[in-house]
Each structure stands twice: as structure tokens, then as C-alpha cells.
Symmetry: C3
């Protein structure tokens, strides 16, 4: 079913208790980006994901990514401060040696075979294009749960740029932010929002697993798009889509049509921007946030790439600002009663949060 | 009844459990200063009072002060980051518009009337002289609870200076500090205390709601008063009064008589200093502290005003130092048993803390 | 019984629940170093030990060390901000005066005798050589519990240097670190460890209260010993002992024999280094750590003293690094299940931790 904004029977009222918020337990049975591929080398690094500290390195031969619990099972020293020997990592405190499966295969001083129970957790990883993904949940489910990676994030049909932002806020709030673009007219009034946005009709595409929102706005495009397209001042139709794909991925799409253009040919393939929003909870109140921006125009033009990612980041830093202020006031007023109210444009966000809550509940 | 220091039957022993301390719940049904008048303009500011974040601005027409819950009821973004449109404030995240009563009167995307339940709290305020007061409790009681403001804090009979101090400590401890001036001989030995203070007879004026302490000390006045009065080296009678007025106000009075003066005329109107101590709990362990110093002598002499407020602040910073060290050791030793002992000069302080405790209990 | 490494029947498995960890309550009935002698003068200082803030000063006449609860029993102002008058300390807030027994002997304003119950705690101290020790527990037991001080820490037969390190970690972990030197080959690979260490046979000397571990390693000595002994490049036998003496003291010993020396005379008295590791819990996750290094060679050579203490500190800072990273990951993952595994070389450490646990349990 596709719902339009005319579905004005949407309730305006308190959010129900069955929607996720910052305090909802993490969803482990899902894939999250843990690092950029280039970050992982033969020098171990550590990163915290879903509250777990993880050590990451590559094997010597095949260069595969290894992700282990970053806490020696002996006396808790972080393995990241150890050293690699071939495909094993040796704890920097007492020398316990772990293989890529997390099993401890050598204890200095110990002549007998190390029992199989002496081990750290190992986590499945998949490397695709720019990023490495990790699966933090039940290993036996890893294969059956789809990697959110999408073809355009790595193939030749797009030019791409990416960046990393650290957000002292919940990934739940960030997902909701990305799914409801009505905030563009307010939070991003000075960056890539335009005033028409907030009141533009919303098209919901909610069906089965699909959770998607579209807006079609006639406007003068903001600089981020108008400048590289050479459409400054022109009237354009801007279609913006937001799609919740999984707890670790959100995709935003922008499609542009020049309404002043008389040249039919120019309307062949519409210029389009796709943005993968890669959200990885670090803790309940902090999120790793990678953003991968892809365009199908001005291909090979590095200046356009630089310009567009910088413009996008300027706007996203406004989101980070908002989310961090929200975290602060939630923390300050943690002991005060507060009943969140939801409004019609939250429809998709509420459905998304309900889905996150269900996923979390299912894991208990 | 007026009690004198001869009431030496005062117990020296553990404080009873019916007196307020830093952990006693806030008293909401009282007026507190939230800001200096000049701070509140058409650019919203926020301030935390009794653990609630409040946004403050003035209306366009009449310039009235508006004080609202600084947390949008939709997704908790602080309203202070929004913008004013006429007498409404528009949330900077999704554009919810609130009127001065806190009611949300517009939700972009929402065509139907916004239900009356969609709102933030609005708080009564009163502006008097230098300050704006706020009432954080049950609105229906606001009118029946007296504003602690006193005439001399704003009328023409006094010259005034004020300053703001931020204290990482409980307002309860600060009230107690102000009510028992026996600490002047010790904490303020190098600023405005004199050695005679600690052992000077105390006159309690405790009757009904009145909670007042006086000391009359023959001494050489400290510089803060001696210099502007031209009494350096002279013998003087210094009468010092402390009065607990309400949880948000304490008044200290100093009256000076030159005992070396032979000129009867000079004793006509005695020189006097009054200090309004405006205490506003921010959290259980932090306090906004404004101090308003008024004098009835050296009128119109700005140099004297500068000198006296600076001297007073030097001493008050000693109080802040003491209160912050107390907070630190209470925090460090929070899990250790500790039984506070009270001494005779705490008589008024203990009565004041008992009153605060009763007020807090009554609100539950 | 003396156990050798051949006791390979040691379990490799989860640590039992009867061993102390960072969350085990402190052991109060024991002596701990609280300060260097030279730190305590007629100007009071404060220091936190076992979670209690203590004020320290010397008496005027005999120069004895006084250690009192650093929290006035009246309104919790730290006594360290007061002033000494003779052998009494006067609180800097309201002037309560305490004698060296902690009893309040004067309250300004109070004419009658102060009841004996008005007091702060006083703690037994003993000054020996470089350090002052404190007893935080039941005073009546202080005499019956041996001061861990050992003769060589102060007598003429050794040259000594000492230093202070502050560790954001539990003293339990630090004791365990000091008792199992198998970490030398890993954590100290670049400072004073040598590769042979981890696999060297361990000799346990565990009998009654004795908890001691020795290792005898043939190696080229690290610079810290080889340079001052003039044994660079020579083959040596390095015997290293670790002994848990009490919750506040650990002693490490190094004895060196030059295996290349043909000169029998040189083997008369073997060169030896003894290190007193003085561990004093500040809080459950922070430790005062003094280290006193004594040598019986190169006597009177200040350059050797400087060199050896600096080399030792370089290595100990590696321990501090490890312990602080452990504290961090324990804090980050406090809510995650984690089962510590113990290995054969932990034998003595586990016995020590069991003893600490028993001592703590006994105090409840």
C-alpha cells in the first residue's frame, strides 16, 4: 500500500511504548559498518560497536579482515596493544596467542594443549567497496541475514565520496532524522533545505519490509546541486527519497528535473544523488556515522566531488548538532517525566522505530 | 519569641533527619530569580532551574518575559535553538510553533487544528528591578505565593551593584552559610571578617515565618566599609543581620555606628548596606547565585560602588570555594557513613533547613 | 611446600568467585603508605586512601605525624583548608578546633565543654625511613598487625631511590602484575624484559603466609642492570623474586651472577636489587604507587642511581599503561558478561587474590 499525505487521519499524540528509543537494547543480529577498508591493515586498530570493543587487523596472506573481542580472556588487556605474528595476535601483557577464530592457541608457560574454551569472540566480517561490515549477533544467523550493501555503493556507474562523523547521540534518533526530511526546511534552512519542504506532500511507500518516504518539491535547488548541475536560479523538481534498509543502513536519494529546460535531450537520464547513511551504534548515546555520497553526473570531476561532499557535510553537521543537544537535554532531564509527541510526518519514523523495537525484543 | 545567645541549652549534636540537605527534593512552589532583566531579549537564551531547562525570550510588542520548557514536545530539541516569529517560537528541528502559553499552534504538514494537549510547559514570570523571577511549581498557586522581591532592591533610596556567581554546590548549604555569620572570623579572616565575630553574642529573631539572626560587634571595620565611610582605624559598632526570606532569597544587612565620632549629626541616618542573596538551584549540586548590594551612603559615587562590590565578591568567592570543596568531599565519600554535628550557632540554620524540608515534603 | 613449574596440573580455566577483584571491598586492617615523610610538614596536605580523605600534618614540638579524617564533623569542610595552631587544627569554615586525637576541643560560641562525641576520626601512623604508613581499620588491632616495613628499606647497607606513580586502576591488578613476572617478556619486551622470561621455570615458595615466586633465567641482562654492573654482552644468571607481603607492600628482588666471569672473587657477594612496591588504594579504580629501589652495588654512585630508577620507571610506566587500559575496557564493558580465565603462571596471583578476598570478608 502506498499512503499519501492525505492520510491526515494520522494521530498526533504521544508515541506508543512499543517504539524504540535510545534506551532500547541494541540489535545484534544485523550487519553494521565497523571501518573503512583502508583503515584495516597489519597494524591492529580497535573500535567500539554496540558497546563491545573490537580489535581489527588483516591476515598476512589473503589480507582478510579479522575482528576479535578486544579483551584478552586472561586479564582483560586490550589485544589492540599486542602484536601480530603471521595470522595470530599475541596479547601484549602475558603473551596469550589467538588465531583468527579467536581461539587461544598458545599460553607461554603452558606445555599442554590449551583447552578450546580459552578464547575470545570472533565476529564475521564482510568487505565491500569502501567499507568493512561486522555481524555482532548469533553467528549461526550471519549468513541468513542480508548484508545491507547495495551495488551502487561500489560499482562503476557512480562517482563517490565519503566521510565520517562521530555523533554523541543515539542511532535511533539519527535514523528518524534521516527518514523524515521535513526537518530540511528548519534545521537545514541555511544549508540544503528549502522552505517548500516542510509542507510538501509526502508519499509513503510502506509495504512488507519496505519503509520509504518520498517528497516532490518544485523549487530553486540549493547550491549543493544547482552549482554542479549549472542550474543556479532555474526552477527544478526535486524528488527526495528516504529509505530505512536495516539498523545499520539508511539510503537517501535525490532526483532532479530542470523545469526551465527546453532541451528534451537533457531530460534523458535524470541527474541523481544517492547517499548511503551508515549508522553504527558505539554506545546507547554515541554513533559512528559514515556517509557515502554517489552521483551520476559531472563524472570524473573531482572539484564537483569535493564541493558536494563538503556541502553535504555542512548540513549533516547541523544534524549532529541537533542530535547532540537532544542527548544533552535528555540526560539533564532524565529524571523528569516527559511524554514524546508524534506528528503526521513521523509516520515512517514511528514504523521504523516499532520495527527496531520488535527486532530488539526478538533477540532477548 | 526572641532568643539570645544565652540560650546555651542549644544541643550540640547530630543534625536530625528532618532537616533539608543537598538531596532533599527541590521546592517548586516558590519564586526564584532566573535571569537578569537585561539578559532576556528577542534572542532566546536557556537556563536550567530546579533541574528543568528553560528557554527565555521577550514578546515583540509588550516586551513581556516568556519562560517555556526548553524541550520541544516532539523530539526534544531545545527550543533555544529555534527562532522567534512575532510572539511565537518555532522549533529549529521540525518547525513546531509554540505560543507564549506553551501551546503548539502549528505543525507543518498538519492541516487540522493541533490538539490542545500538544504543548510545552509555560512558567509564570515576574520582572522587578534588575531581575526576572520564575515560578516552577503548581501554576494555580503562583499568585498566592509571595514574590520575595523587596522594595529596596529597586527603589530610589539606595545605590546598587550586582554580580553573578556560579556555585558547584547545594543551595541549602549556601542558605546555611548566609544565615550563620560566625564563619566570617574564619573563612573570611582575610576579606571582610574580623576576629570578634565568632564569639559575638547572637540575637535570634525567630517568630512565625521570621527567621533572622543578628550580631552586634565592636570592631575596626574591614576595608569594604571603612574605606568608603572614611572610618579607617576608627572604632565602630557593626550590626549584621541575616534573614531567610524564601528558598530563593536571603537578605543580609549591615548597620554601622562610628563609636569614635563626637559629631552627633553624623549619627542621624546610620550608614547601611543591604545585600539580596538570590539563590536558584540549577541541580542538586549547583546553584545560580546573584548578589545585589545596596547602600544608603556615598550615593552616586561609582568608585565606591565598584570598590564595594569587588570587595564583597572577593569574600563571596571564599564561600564558593568552601561550598565546592564540601560538595567534592561529599561526593568522594558518598558511600561512607557520616553524621553531621550541629553547634549552637546553627540554631537558625537548622530551623531554616527544617522549614525547607517541610516545604519539600508538602509538595509530594 | 615448594612447588615448581612441573606442577603442570594447574588448572587453566575460569577464576573462581572467591578471589578478589577491583570490586572487592577494601582491606582496612592493614598498613598502607600514605605519604613520603618529606611531604608532611606544618602545612597540612590531604590525600585519599581507601576512599577516605585524610589530612596530614606534623605536631609542633615532636614533629609527629597526625592523620585525621579530612572532613569537619560540623559541615564537612575539608580540614586541610584550615590552619594549625600548635598541635591543633582549626577548621577554616567555622573554627572548630581539633586536637591530634581528632577530638573537637573548642567550638567558638560554645561556652560549655564540647561533648566527647564531637570529633573526627584519627588514624594511627608510623614513620619509617622514607615513608609514613597509616592504619585505616579498627584501631585496637593496629598494634597487632605487623607494619610491612622491612629493614633494607631504610638501613645503611643499600643505596636507594624512590618515585611515585599514580595508577587509574585497582591495586588488586597491580599486585597480580607484580607477582607474575611472566609479563616481562611481553609488556616489557622493550624495557627490562627478555624473551626467555615467559617460558622460564617458576619456583613457587608458598607456605603459610609466604607467597613468593622465583624465576632463574640465563640471559644477557637488560641495560638497567648490565650497564651499571659493566656486564653488557655477558651471559648472566638472573634470579627474580616476587613476594606478596601485605595488601600495601610487594617486594621484588633481582640477583645477578656473571656466568662469563672467571674471577671467583667477583662472585663473593652477588649484586642484588630489591624493590619495595608500596601500593595504596585511593579508590576502587585508582592506586597510589610508590616504588623504592635499593641496590647493594655501585654504592654512592649517584649517576647509577639516576640511571636505574629512570630505567625502572620507564618499565613501570608500561605497567601503568596496561592497568589503565584494563580499567577502561572493564568500565566500557561493565554490563557485558565476561569470565576471566586463569593460566598456570597465575598460581601465586590467584592465591594472593584469594587471601585478599578472605581478608576483606573477615572485615565485614
Amino acid at each position: 500500500m502506498t499512503l499519501s499525505a492525505s492520510a491526515s487521519h494520522d494521530p498526533v499524540g504521544p508515541s506508543a511504548s512499543d517504539v524504540a528509543d535510545a534506551d532500547t537494547p541494541f540489535i545484534h543480529n544485523a550487519w553494521y559498518v565497523i571501518a573503512e577498508s583502508a583503515e584495516i591493515t597489519r597494524t591492529p586498530i580497535s573500535r567500539t560497536v554496540l558497546g563491545h570493543s573490537i580489535v581489527l587487523f588483516r591476515t598476512e596472506g589473503t589480507g582478510e579482515v579479522v575482528a576479535l573481542q578486544n579483551r584478552c580472556c586472561h586479564r582483560s588487556f586490550p589485544l589492540v596493544h599486542g602484536r601480530l605474528e603471521g595470522d595470530t595476535i599475541v596479547c601484549g601483557y602475558h603473551g596469550l596467542r589467538y588465531d583468527t577464530s579467536g581461539r587461544c592457541i598458545e599460553i607461554p608457560m603452558q606445555k599442554r594443549k590449551v583447552p578450546a574454551s580459552v578464547r575470545v569472540r570472533a565476529f564475521p566480517t564482510v568487505e565491500r567497496g569502501t567499507f568493512v561490515w561486522i555481524f555482532m549477533g548469533d553467528k549461526t544467523l550471519a549468513d541468513s541475514i542480508a548484508l545491507p550493501h547495495q551495488e551502487w555503493m561500489a560499482n562503476d556507474e557512480w562517482d563517490r565520496r565519503f566521510a565520517y562523523l562521530y555523533v554523541k547521540g543515539s542511532y535511533v534518533h539519527l535514523h528518524e532524522n534521516l527518514l523524515d526530511l521535513s526537518h530540511l526546511s528548519f534545521l537545514h534552512a541555511n544549508s540544503f533545505g528549502t522552505p517548500e519542504y516542510a509542507r510538501a506532500p509526502i508519499e509513503w511507500k510502506i509495504e512488507g519490509d519496505n519503509l520509504e518516504v518520498w517528497r516532490h518539491v518544485e523549487c530553486r535547488l540549493p547550491s549543493i546541486y544547482a552549482v554542479p548541475l549549472g542550474w543556479v536560479g532555474a526552477k527544478a523538481l526535486r524528488s527526495s527519497g528516504s529509505k530505512f534498509v536495516s539498523p545499520g543502513l539508511h539510503v537517501n536519494t535525490g532526483i532532479f528535473r530542470n523545469l526551465d529546460a527546453t532541451d528534451d535531450a537533457s531530460q534523458g537520464t535524470l541527474p541523481m544523488v544517492k547517499v548511503a547513511q551508515l549508522l553504527t551504534p558505539e554506545t546507547s548515546r554515541s554513533t559512528h556515522y559514515w556517509t557515502l555520497q554517489a552521483r551520476n553526473f559531472a563524472r570524473g570531476d573531482a572539484t564537483v566531488g569535493d564541493f558536494m561532499i563538503e556541502q553535504q557535510l555542512a548540513a549533516f553537521r547541523e544534524d549532529v548538532f541537533a542530535l547532540e543537544r537532544i542527548t544533552e537535554i535528555q540526560t539533564l532531564e532524565a529524571n523528569l517525566a516527559f511524554q514524546e509527541i508524534s506528528i503526521p510526518s513521523d509516520r515512517a519514523g514511528i514504523l521504523m522505530r516499532r520495527r527496531l523495537k520488535e527486532m530488539a525484543d526478538r533477540e532477548r
